[in-house]
C-alpha cells in the first residue's frame, strides 16, 4: 500500500513538473508590438553605437524569439515559422558577438536581416486587422 501510494505521489509530482514547464504561450498583438519596438530600439542603439543598450535589446529579442519558436512548435504545422524564429535567435547571438568587438556595421546588417526575417513570417502568419 505504502509503495503504491509512493508511486502515485511520484506520478503526481512528475505530472506537475511536466505541465509546469510547458506553460501556454500567447502571441497576441501586444506581444508582437513589443517585439517590434524592441527591434527598432536595437537598430537605433546600434546606429548610435550604444553597445550596452544594443546588447540588452539583442538578448531580449533572443528570449522573445525563443517564445515565438515554442509557440509555433506547440501550434504545429508551422515549421517555417519555427525556422524563422530560430534563425532570428541565431542572428541575435551574432549581433552580440559583433557588439563585443564594436563592429557596428556588421551588427547593423545582421539586425536588418533579423527585421526582414520578421517580415517573412508576418507575410504568412500575421493576422489582418
Amino acid at each position: 500500500m505504502g509503495t503504491i501510494r509512493m508511486r502515485k505521489l511520484m506520478l503526481f509530482f512528475a505530472f506537475l513538473t511536466i505541465t509546469g514547464s510547458v506553460a501556454a504561450i500567447t502571441l497576441d498583438e501586444d506581444y508582437m508590438q513589443s517585439m517590434e519596438d524592441r527591434q527598432k530600439s536595437l537598430s537605433a542603439n546600434i546606429g548610435i553605437q550604444n553597445a550596452k543598450g544594443a546588447n540588452e535589446d539583442a538578448k531580449a529579442m533572443m528570449e522573445m524569439f525563443a517564445d515565438v519558436s515554442d509557440y509555433y512548435v506547440q501550434k504545429g504545422n508551422a515549421q517555417d515559422a519555427v525556422d524563422w524564429s530560430n534563425k532570428s535567435r541565431e542572428l541575435g547571438s551574432v549581433i552580440i558577438k559583433y557588439l563585443a568587438v564594436k563592429d557596428f556595421d556588421n551588427a547593423t546588417v545582421s539586425a536588418t536581416t533579423m527585421a526582414k526575417t520578421c517580415k517573412d513570417c508576418h507575410r504568412l502568419y500575421k493576422k489582418d486587422k
Binding site: K40, I48, A111, T112, D128
Partner: protein, 480 residues
C-alpha cells in the same frame, strides 16, 4: 529657445510674400531638432554624398491607383491559357486575399497582346507602343512586394517606408543628406497633372521628424506653381526688398542677443528663398521657350497627353536646374472623367487604355530627351506604384490589388539598363525568389545617389533613424 516677441512681429510684418507656406522651410517646424547648429543655420547647404554617386537627380514617377503590370510588362502565357478558369489553389498558398465577392476566375482582356522589344527582349503590351521603344534603357524589377490592401496606406509606405504617417519621405531624406544644388529653387519638388493635390496627401512628401525645410514643395499646374508666391500688386519690388533688408538687420541684432535662436535664422532664409523663387519658379516651369518638336514629342499638342506631358517636361527642366528629387504623381487621364487613376477594379480595358495613352508617349519622350541632353546618365527615373493587380478578375472585367508580386522599373542614373531582376509565378500572383520591398527600392535609389542607407541617419528623440526604418537591402543586380 526663441524670441517669441520677434517671431510675432515678423508674422505681422506682412513682407508681401502672402500665404507662401514658409513654415515648410523652417527647420524643426517650430522647435529644435537634433540637427547640428550648422545645418540649422543653412540646412540646405550642398553636402557631398558618402561615396561616388552615379545619379544626381531622381524623377520618381508614381502611377497613382496601381496599374496592372500584367497588362503592361508581364506577359504570362499560362495566364492566357487559364483565362476564364478558377485559379489553381497552389498559386494562393501563403497569401491572404480579400477580394470583394471572393476570388473569381482568371482574367485576360481579349484585346491584350504582347511583343518583345530591343536587344533585351523585354515584353511590352499593346498599351505601350512608345515606351516599348526604350526597352533597352529600362531595368525591370519584377519581384516587387509590399504590404497593405488600401491605396493610402501603401502609397504612404511607398514614399515614406511606413504605413503610419510621421516618417520622412524618400525625397526628404535625399534633401537632408545632399542639400540643394540650386539655392533659387526647392531641392525637392512634387508635380501632378490634376486640379488638386494627389489624394493621398502631403504626408507623402513630408519631412516627418526631419526639419521641415526638407519637405517637398508641391508645384501646382499652371503658370504660377506656388500659391501666393507673387508679390501683391500693391507692393513694389523695392518695398519687398526693403522689408527683407530690415528683417536681416533685425536678425543681426537678434543673433548677437540670442545666439541659440537658429530657428529665426532659418526663417529669414526662407523669406529670401521665396523672394528668389518669385523669379526662378515660374521660369523653371515656363515651357514657352521649348521647341515645337519637343512639345510635340511630349504630347503637348494632344489633349490625351497634354497634362501629363507638361508635367514631365517641367520635370526635365527642373532636372536641368539642379532639383534633386522630383516626385511626379499621375492624375486623371480624362479630367472629370470616369477614371481618376489606374485603380481598375472594373472596366480595366477602358481604364488602362486611357491611362496608358496619357503616360506612354510623355514617358518615352522624357527618356529620349534626357538621353539626348546627356542627362540620362545622372538622372535616375523610377516608374513605380503602390502595388500591382491580381490575375483573377473582379467585377467581371477588372482586377483587384496585388501586393505580392508586381513590376516597377528604373532607367538612367547608374541603373543596369536592359535587364530584369526577379520574377513572379506563372500567372502573376506572387513573386518568386528574391523579392524587392519598398525599403529595398529606397536603399537602392540612395545607393545610386552615393548614400549608404544604413549610414544616412538622423537623431530623433534620442533614437537613430534611417530612411529604410530597420529594413532595406541594396539590390546590387540593379546597379550598373
Amino acid at each position: 529657445m526663441y524670441n517669441q516677441s520677434r517671431r510675432d512681429f515678423l508674422l505681422r510684418a506682412g513682407v508681401g510674400l502672402g500665404g507662401v507656406a514658409l513654415s515648410g522651410f523652417l527647420p524643426g517646424g517650430g522647435f529644435f531638432s537634433a540637427a547640428s547648429a550648422a545645418e540649422l543655420l543653412d540646412p540646405l547647404a550642398p553636402k557631398n554624398p558618402q561615396f561616388a554617386a552615379k545619379a544626381k537627380t531622381v524623377i520618381w514617377l508614381h502611377m497613382d491607383g496601381a496599374p496592372s503590370t500584367l497588362d503592361l510588362y508581364d506577359y504570362k502565357p499560362e495566364l492566357v491559357k487559364l483565362a476564364g478558369k478558377p485559379i489553381p489553389e497552389s498559386f494562393l498558398k501563403g497569401i491572404k486575399t480579400s477580394t470583394q465577392g471572393g476570388i473569381t476566375k482568371l482574367f485576360v482582356s481579349p484585346k491584350r497582346s504582347f511583343k518583345q522589344y530591343g536587344d533585351s527582349g523585354a515584353y511590352f503590351s499593346d498599351l505601350l507602343p512608345n515606351l516599348s521603344q526604350h526597352a533597352d534603357k529600362l531595368a525591370f524589377i519584377k519581384s516587387s512586394v509590399t504590404v497593405g490592401a488600401t491605396h493610402d496606406i501603401s502609397i504612404l509606405k511607398l514614399n515614406t517606408g511606413d504605413v503610419n504617417p510621421g516618417r520622412p519621405s524618400l525625397g526628404a531624406w535625399v534633401n537632408f543628406a545632399l542639400g540643394s544644388a540650386n539655392r533659387d529653387l526647392p531641392s525637392y519638388v512634387v508635380l501632378y497633372n490634376d486640379d488638386k493635390e494627389p489624394r493621398a496627401g502631403s504626408v507623402n512628401w513630408s519631412s516627418g521628424f526631419l526639419p521641415a525645410v526638407y519637405q517637398g514643395v508641391a508645384f501646382r499646374p499652371g503658370d504660377s506653381p506656388i500659391l501666393n508666391l507673387q508679390r501683391p500688386g500693391t507692393m513694389a519690388k523695392i518695398e519687398q526688398r526693403n522689408s527683407l533688408d530690415l528683417l536681416n538687420k533685425l536678425n543681426q541684432k537678434g543673433s548677437s542677443r540670442y545666439p541659440e535662436d537658429s530657428e529665426l535664422e532659418a526663417r529669414i532664409r526662407s523669406y529670401e528663398l521665396a523672394d528668389r523663387m518669385q523669379a526662378s519658379a515660374p521660369e523653371a516651369v515656363d515651357l514657352s521657350k521649348e521647341t515645337e518638336a519637343t512639345k510635340e514629342a511630349y504630347g503637348l499638342n494632344d489633349e490625351t497627353t497634354r497634362t501629363y506631358g507638361t508635367v514631365l517636361l517641367r520635370a526635365r527642366r527642373l532636372t536641368e536646374r539642379g532639383v534633386r528629387f522630383i516626385q511626379v504623381v499621375s492624375g486623371p487621364a480624362v479630367p472629370d472623367g470616369e477614371f481618376r487613376n489606374w485603380d481598375a477594379h472594373s472596366k480595366l480595358e477602358d481604364n488602362h487604355s486611357k491611362n496608358a495613352r496619357m503616360v506612354d508617349k510623355p514617358i518615352a519622350a522624357l527618356l529620349a530627351d534626357l538621353k539626348e541632353r546627356g542627362l540620362l546618365e545622372t538622372t535616375l527615373v523610377v516608374w513605380t506604384s503602390e502595388f500591382g493587380r491580381t490575375p483573377w478578375g473582379e467585377s467581371g472585367d477588372g482586377r483587384d490589388h496585388n501586393p505580392w508580386g508586381y513590376t516597377q522599373w528604373m532607367a538612367g542614373g547608374g541603373s543596369k539598363a536592359g535587364t530584369t531582376f526577379g520574377a513572379t509565378d506563372e500567372i502573376g500572383v506572387q513573386s518568386v525568389g528574391k523579392t524587392v520591398d519598398t525599403y529595398d527600392l529606397h536603399a537602392t535609389v540612395l545607393e545610386l545617389l552615393g548614400l549608404n542607407h544604413l549610414k544616412t541617419t538622423f537623431l530623433h528623440d534620442g533614437r537613430s533613424e534611417r530612411p529604410t526604418v530597420v529594413y532595406g537591402e541594396v539590390i546590387k543586380d540593379l546597379i550598373a
